[in-house]
Symmetry: C2
Subunit: 110 residues, 2 copies
């Protein structure tokens, strides 16, 4: 396990917006407009994120008229599910951590 794959893995999946998109896609396939509504992200921003998720092999896409329908790749479903379960189970522990660096995060959370 070397630096490149670990950094790339967390770069792709460790961003809140991208992880949220993957979580939504666990439930059902969505086109870009639907992802925009589901996440409250801007359209161009969503497209950038989808480009990242596509190229890292986390999602697939198919055309449907003007729309592009994205679906999560089945191989990563268990991984995402286990991360979500972990975050939900240890929610309180995670939130209660009180490190200096957390101030960085707090500033960003609206």
């Amino acid at each position: 396990m070397e630096k490149l794959e670990v950094k790339t893995f967390f770069f792709a999946i460790g961003d809140y917006s991208r992880f949220s998109i993957l979580a939504k896609l666990l439930e059902k396939d969505l086109n870009v407009g639907e992802i925009v509504k589901a996440t409250s992200l801007e359209q161009s921003n969503v497209s950038h994120h989808m480009s990242c998720l596509m190229n890292c092999g986390f999602v697939s896409v198919k055309k449907d008229g003007k729309a592009r329908i994205y679906s999560i790749n089945s191989e990563i479903r268990p991984m995402i599910n286990s991360m979500i379960r972990h975050i939900e189970k240890y929610r309180n522990d995670i939130i209660s951590c009180d490190i200096a660096d957390r101030s960085y995060i707090s500033k960003v959370i609206k």
Copy 2:
């Protein structure tokens, strides 16, 4: 699953240095000096990371003379293991992703 816990979770675990430390701690408990050797990080840097991992509940510490021996908390062992397995299994897919953003990463990897 809300923004704060997701961001905090990935903030703590999604950093390569911290993830590497956790991976080392899966094998055996280590004091700071041993972590320094195992990861080639600087001592003060390791201490900063341990502070983060402590406060987020990922590791525990006990004194042993001048040394502080850190151990990974058993609840997160399965999670870290599954992440490592995933990264190793899909190593080629992860590495072969060719997104614009990857240039950010490539610059950093030595």
